[in-house]
């Protein structure tokens, strides 16, 4: 009784989703009479991916026991996470040193926007209901996708768990409880329900509460005689968080297609623990966030040659920031809205040649209670034309994206109309049939628009800003082989070398005092890099399976903005020359053991590569042990995890100390 009530409640909530989903539902209803065997849920047509992305999914993702998406992304090569520390701390991702604003983050296929500052806080996205995380350099090399998917320098796709039922199953329920250091209390629930043969519903809810406290240490020694200078322990405070996440979705299948609708709600209150500077370890700033979106997606192969896809989204984001310091009281509220509509078409000209055309429209609006605020609105139209050829051992793809942007403001000056045409080319070739080695390369030129903050932030913004461009050249080899009956069952090696340029980089430059800045298109950065990823699966004993995964990244990202600067040619801030990760996971009967290691090499925390800006390398080891047991069809999984095993005290971002050794315990119950 209660379940059915809940179910109808779920329906009612989901009924509010855009029209597309309703149409889709009707369609699937009308085809219900047909033979079930005709229903095929398949990946979109259009051939294999030319440049497959880096992926973490399923059991491998689960074994990491990461708290957020950002924590899991650290195991990808070519990226750097800027982590301000703690459970509620901001975590952003920088792909191949081009800057955090150049990373597009897609949630179940539709991009998460933040027109205000262009940054998606990946620390907010839970891994609790995540099926897979994929990172694509350049873009996902598909031609049947929305125009927006062509619009970033690097893209991260987050895919939540889709309901999948075995014969005879009607319902899945999973309850998880996490606790441990930082006063963490984190219960969550996942409920999947089979509604009909073609429609399934999913609901996920999570509450995260933590006081965020942890011990940190700052210690300095004399370089010559190693004599101890200062050595202090302190407690990181004001890092508490209280957050709710609710997500509901409907998934449907139809003949040669599928549809889905989802709503997402996130509400949080968090402390901002701030910078740890001399004589000031206590901060009182607070932030409240409320994020809501509803999105729908519909895809169908209309005829053997023609496929069609619709996507739509509405998003509302609210941020309330409070700095109740008596010295400088600040309280601001920001309200963002986004409407997004997309249609994508794919036409198979011949068996090996496909053409895609997609058109997107997006509207963004930002309101704020700042004085002299501009109240900007942005209207973006994107059209992407793409084509791909695909043979047995050779495939290629080319795309052209046209972006038109109009802005309106109530006050001050609006940014002028912008139109940009940007290309991308991807090729992949397996030279020898018998050797599973593939060569792949891509070229891409794309830009990011200045954010609303860059353009309009009162007294800081500069509405004359031009877009910031990146140009990427990448070439690499992949080798994937499986062996039967051997100890080494599977091996995969991917290596890429790349050269990127960031031009017209938007940087903050001083106004007339250090408390007043403005934004300018000034920076010029050249990036050379190597990414290596090695993956292997081993069958050591009869029941002992071990999987290993290692990544290594070399990056040289140098600032060539102004010859007269003392730091001309220096490595840009926070980009280490060397970084890498290692995961070793073993499964023996009911036991899982996972060891993970992350290394970030030496780097500088400001533009000049001088001793005063030097930041030490850091590396952490995490260890997790899990035990799974099934009693009466109910599966219990108990995990104990130690993070930062060696208790290393480090900063990812200078003056934002990270926690030392910490613990987590997880109990998951599947019914």
């Amino acid at each position: 009784m209660r379940i059915s009530l809940l179910r109808s409640a779920l329906y009612m909530v989901l009924a509010g989703c855009p029209v597309v989903s309703l149409q889709a539902q009707q369609r699937s209803d009308s085809t219900r009479t047909k033979d079930l065997r005709e229903v095929s849920v398949i990946a979109p047509r259009g051939g294999k991916e030319i440049a497959p992305g880096q992926q973490l999914k399923g059991a491998e993702l689960q074994r990491l026991n990461s708290q957020s998406v950002a924590d899991a992304l650290r195991f990808f090569s070519g990226i750097q996470i800027k982590d301000y520390g703690g459970i509620g701390g901001l975590k952003t991702v920088d792909v191949r040193s081009m800057g955090t604003n150049h990373t597009g983050v897609f949630y179940d296929g539709i991009e998460l926007g933040n027109a205000q500052n262009g940054v998606v806080d990946l620390g907010k996205f839970s891994l609790d209901n995540m099926e897979e995380i994929t990172l694509y350099n350049g873009q996902r090399s598909s031609i049947f996708q929305p125009a927006k998917d062509y619009g970033s320098s690097g893209s991260i796709y987050l895919t939540t768990l889709k309901p999948h039922f075995e014969e005879g199953e009607k319902r899945h329920l999973r309850g998880t409880f996490k606790t441990g250091s930082f006063g963490l209390v984190n219960p969550s629930i996942l409920w999947q329900e089979k509604i009909s043969k073609r429609v399934a519903a999913s609901f996920s809810g999570e509450w995260t509460n933590a006081n965020g406290r942890y011990k940190f240490r700052y210690q300095k020694r004399d370089k010559d005689n190693n004599a101890l200078g200062y050595d202090t322990f302190a407690i990181r405070r004001n890092g508490g968080i209280n957050a709710f996440r609710l997500e509901g979705s409907l998934h449907g299948v139809m003949n040669g297609g599928e549809w889905s609708s989802k709503i997402y709600f996130y509400d949080s209150e968090r402390g901002l623990p701030g910078t740890m500077v001399n004589n000031r370890f206590i901060h009182v700033d607070k932030q409240w966030d409320r994020n809501f979106f509803a999105q729908s997606s519909w895809r169908k192969d209309i005829s053997p040659r023609y496929s069609l896809m619709f996507n739509g989204k509405y998003a509302y984001d609210y941020t309330h920031y409070l700095s109740p310091d008596t010295a400088y009281f600040a309280e601001n509220r920001y309200y963002q809205q986004e409407v997004y509509l997309s249609v994508a078409n794919q036409f198979a000209v011949t068996k090996w040649w496909n053409v895609g055309l997609s058109g997107d429209f997006q509207w963004n609006k930002l309101d704020a209670d700042l004085k002299k605020f501009s109240y900007p609105q942005r209207f973006t139209t994107l059209v992407a034309l793409a084509t791909s050829v695909s043979f047995q051992r050779f495939s290629a793809q080319a795309s052209l994206l046209n972006t038109n942007m109009n802005e309106q403001v109530k006050l001050n000056t609006a940014s002028p109309f912008r139109q940009e045409l940007t290309p991308a080319v991807f090729v992949s070739w397996q030279p020898v049939k018998k050797i599973p080695v593939t060569w792949r390369s891509f070229y891409k030129r794309i830009f990011r628009m200045p954010t609303f903050n860059d353009l309009y932030y009162t007294d800081i913004g500069n509405s004359n800003l031009k877009p910031e461009f990146t140009t990427q050249y990448n070439t690499g080899l992949t080798w994937n082989q499986t062996f039967h009956g051997k100890m080494l069952q599977e091996i995969g090696v991917e290596t890429d070398v790349y050269y990127n340029e960031v031009t017209d980089k938007i940087v903050a430059v001083p106004g007339s005092s250090q408390f007043r800045w403005t934004m300018m298109n000034l920076g010029f950065v050249k990036i050379k890099g190597v990414d290596v990823k090695v993956k292997a699966a081993w069958q050591l004993l009869n029941e002992l399976l071990v999987s290993t995964r290692a990544t290594y990244t070399f990056q040289e990202a140098r600032d060539f903005t102004d010859k007269s600067d003392s730091f001309y040619g220096d490595q840009i801030a926070y980009i280490p020359w060397h970084s890498g990760s290692l995961i070793i996971g073993g499964t023996y009967r009911a036991w899982d053991l996972n060891y993970s290691f992350i290394y970030t090499g030496e780097r500088y925390n400001m533009k000049a590569n001088i001793p005063a800006n030097y930041t030490l390398p850091w590396y952490t080891s995490d260890l997790a042990l899990a035990y799974t047991r099934t009693v009466n069809k109910t599966r219990f999984r108990l995990t104990a995890q130690v993070n930062n095993l060696m208790n290393q005290y480090y900063d990812v971002v200078a003056n934002y100390p990270m926690p030392g050794r910490n613990y987590k315990f997880i109990l998951a119950v599947n019914i």
Partner: protein, 383 residues
């Protein structure tokens, strides 16, 4: 089986390496000493300290010292002299002065005044004061302006205060409420003059100079000058040179002369003045005026004769070096040699440059400093 054991051994070694991999300690950044000049014989001063502000949040406020007797410039001396001070000098240095045998540095975001031995920069003590800005000294007392007043009815706009500190005990003895976000101060006779900016309240800037009676430590009047006041320097005739930063849009920066006998504005120079230094009868000034209307800034250099109160023609830099200065940020003139020191804060997030010009405006030398070089104080030869 042997193969399997070998694999396990390799993994074990890898893990051991990963765990044991030792990293070097976090070292105190040692000073960088550069010979920049031939030794100069100086009657009055042994050298000068330069306080680098450091960008907000970076904790990179540093102290440099130039030694006249050796002609060497030492960058970042504080951390090595005081290795036990947690997180070094602090975040955003805002003023530096010597009074008696003590060196005082106002560290704005660290909410403190660092008190050191003038001769060595060795730390003696710190005085806690929230959002402290500038200092003035008289009769054994330090006067320190602070943006943070007591919490009033409207917490959005607390009035600023000036705190009085006894330089013998280093304790705050009295406080007085002044205008909004008070900046520089000067003592003339028994009166303290405070420039109020209202910098946290645009567009409702403050526009007054507060006058404090030092006996009662009460504000006795406010002199209306112009919006967003900042610098306040006294000449030898009891006149005050006060700068207005303008509103960065339509109201320009300007320089005012206040007569402290009448407590009235007696002259306005329509010249952008971000900072100035009075040596003898001349005020050396520069302006770096930013305009949000054009998203650009204008930089100018100039001189004012403080006896005749007239603008002097020309620039005190005569060899074209000003073209290399991206963002002038500090200025000081040696009263003895008339050498002119100008700092360049460049982009505020990288090391700046200190330029030394002779009295004819020709560059003598330059040296790389800490981030945002800004505030100078001469170290007397005899104390």
């Amino acid at each position: 089986m042997i193969k399997q054991l070998r694999f396990i051994r390799i993994v074990a070694v890898l893990i051991m390496l990963a765990m044991a991999g030792c990293r070097n300690g976090d070292y105190i950044v040692p000073p960088v000493t550069t010979p920049v000049d031939t030794p100069v014989t100086h009657q009055r001063y042994k050298g000068f300290y330069l306080l680098n502000e450091g960008n907000m949040g970076s904790n990179k406020c540093t102290l440099d010292f130039f030694d006249f007797t050796s002609g060497t410039y030492s960058k970042n001396i504080y951390a090595t002299v005081n290795p036990n001070v947690v997180k070094e000098l602090g975040d955003v240095g805002n003023d530096i002065k010597i009074y008696g045998s003590k060196l005082y540095a106002v560290i704005n975001v660290s909410n403190k005044i660092e008190v050191m031995e003038a001769a060595t920069a060795k730390r003696l003590q710190q005085i806690e004061l929230t959002n402290c800005r500038y200092m003035a000294f008289a009769n054994g007392k330090a006067y320190i302006s602070s943006y943070a007043g007591p919490v009033v009815i409207d917490p959005r706009s607390p009035l600023g205060i000036v705190a009085e500190v006894d330089t013998a005990t280093l304790q705050i003895t009295r406080r007085v409420e002044v205008g909004y976000q008070p900046e520089e101060m000067a003592v003339i006779g028994n009166k303290l003059y405070v420039a109020n900016s209202g910098g946290y309240r645009p567009p409702d800037y403050d526009s007054t100079v507060s006058v404090i009676d030092l006996t009662t430590f009460k504000e006795i009047k406010k002199i209306h000058v112009d919006i967003n006041l900042h610098r306040l320097k006294a000449d030898s005739d009891g006149d005050l040179y006060v700068t207005s930063r303008g509103d960065y849009y339509n109201r320009p920066s300007a320089l005012y002369v206040l007569d402290t006998k009448t407590d009235e504005v007696k002259k306005r120079f329509a010249i952008a003045a971000s900072n100035l230094c009075i040596a003898g009868d001349t005020a050396y000034l520069y302006g770096s005026e930013y305009s949000y209307n054009t998203a650009s800034w204008k930089i100018n250099y100039g001189m004012v004769n403080v006896k005749t109160e007239t603008l002097l023609p020309g620039n005190f830099i005569t060899d074209g070096t000003e073209k290399n200065i991206k963002m002038p940020y500090g200025i000081m003139v040696d009263p003895e040699t008339k050498d002119i020191y100008v700092t360049d804060a460049r982009d505020y997030v990288s090391p700046g440059t200190l330029y030394c010009f002779d009295k004819t405006g020709k560059k003598r030398w330059s040296v790389i400093t800490g981030d945002i070089p800004a505030h100078f104080v001469f170290l007397p030869a005899k104390q």
